[in-house]
């Protein structure tokens, strides 16, 4: 259980860090170009929409039998984790460009210049809502299978607090965050989680039960390292 709790908190923290940094870049661009009122208003409405989403969907989870929940969540985690893993491998090998927060910030500022304040606020709202939906999914997905939504929420909240604190101090996009490395680690962890839960839901057995998560994550990490080499050679 401890392995699951720590893994849920850590994966929710790291994945949320990536998403919150992306939302922060756009909110910051709105704040810099149009002032903080539309930026904070858009952020507030976006957060309220996310709370409403969780309030509606949260109770539904309790009504789903655990085996079915593990199966669905495991499959979604697997699709999500493998997608991040693939992208991180291709980026690490230089096959697709790295995500650049500074460039994204400059692009957002260009797009927002000359637009009315309410449109800028809407941009902040959309960024918070869209990135927030990803955070909500990750928290629910890594937490639901073992009743760890609360623990995963702590990880996500810590990531949001860290990004906001760093943003308040620096007042610039957090481009020093090693996004691709984080995505690779999160991809490894979520792929392991997804495989584990999906396997349990269809009657597969893992040696050493919960501790199987660790060698499984290590296996995905090794596969990713080999994948980077394969992509470099093929390039």
């Amino acid at each position: 259980m401890l392995i699951h709790s720590l893994s849920a908190i850590l994966s929710a923290f790291l994945a949320s860090l990536v998403e919150v940094v992306e939302a922060f870049t756009i909110v910051l661009a709105v704040g810099v170009t149009h002032g903080w009122r539309p930026a904070l208003a858009g952020t507030g409405v976006g957060l309220a929409a996310l709370v409403a989403l969780v309030a509606v969907l949260g109770p539904l989870l309790g009504a789903v039998p655990l085996a079915a929940l593990q199966g669905v969540v495991g499959l979604l985690l697997l699709l999500f984790g493998m997608r991040w893993l693939r992208k991180a491998v291709l980026r690490a090998a230089g096959r697709i460009p790295l995500h650049d927060e500074a460039a994204e910030f400059a692009r957002e500022r260009r797009l927002l210049t000359g637009r009315p304040a309410f449109a800028a606020g809407a941009a902040a709202f959309q960024a918070v809502l869209l990135e927030g939906v990803e955070v909500v999914f990750i928290v629910v997905a890594v937490g639901a299978g073992r009743g760890l939504v609360g623990a995963a929420s702590l990880g996500a909240a810590a990531a949001a607090a860290l990004v906001v604190a760093a943003g308040l101090v620096l007042h610039k996009p957090l481009s020093v965050v090693p996004e691709n490395t984080l995505k690779l680690i999160v991809g490894v962890m979520l792929s392991a989680f997804g495989t584990f839960w999906l396997g349990e839901s269809v009657g597969l057995a893992w040696p050493a039960t919960d501790f199987a998560l660790l060698p499984m994550a290590l296996g995905f990490l090794l596969a990713a390292i080999v994948g980077v080499r394969v992509a470099e050679v093929r390039g």
């Binding site: 499959l75 693939r86 396997g199 597969l204």
Partner: protein, 68 residues
């Protein structure tokens, strides 16, 4: 409506980026579940097939994607 569409696309995009990767994962999961459900493979072997299959799918997809 525009926001609803954007949220839907974002949610779909969470799971499906390269369609062939998602399809291969779904086929593997369906195959393992069917074999296990019919008792054709044991629980431990099924776990190995699922994990090994996912690693192969990832490496094959990366190899193919890096040639594009």
């Amino acid at each position: 409506m525009k926001v609803v569409g954007a949220v839907w696309n974002e949610v779909l995009g969470l799971f499906v980026d390269d369609g062939s990767l998602a399809a291969a994962i779904l086929v593997l999961v369906g195959l393992v579940a069917t074999l296990r459900g019919r008792g054709l493979i044991g629980p431990a072997l099924g776990g190995g097939v699922l994990f090994g299959g996912l690693v192969v799918i990832l490496l094959e997809n990366v190899r193919r994607s890096s040639r594009r």
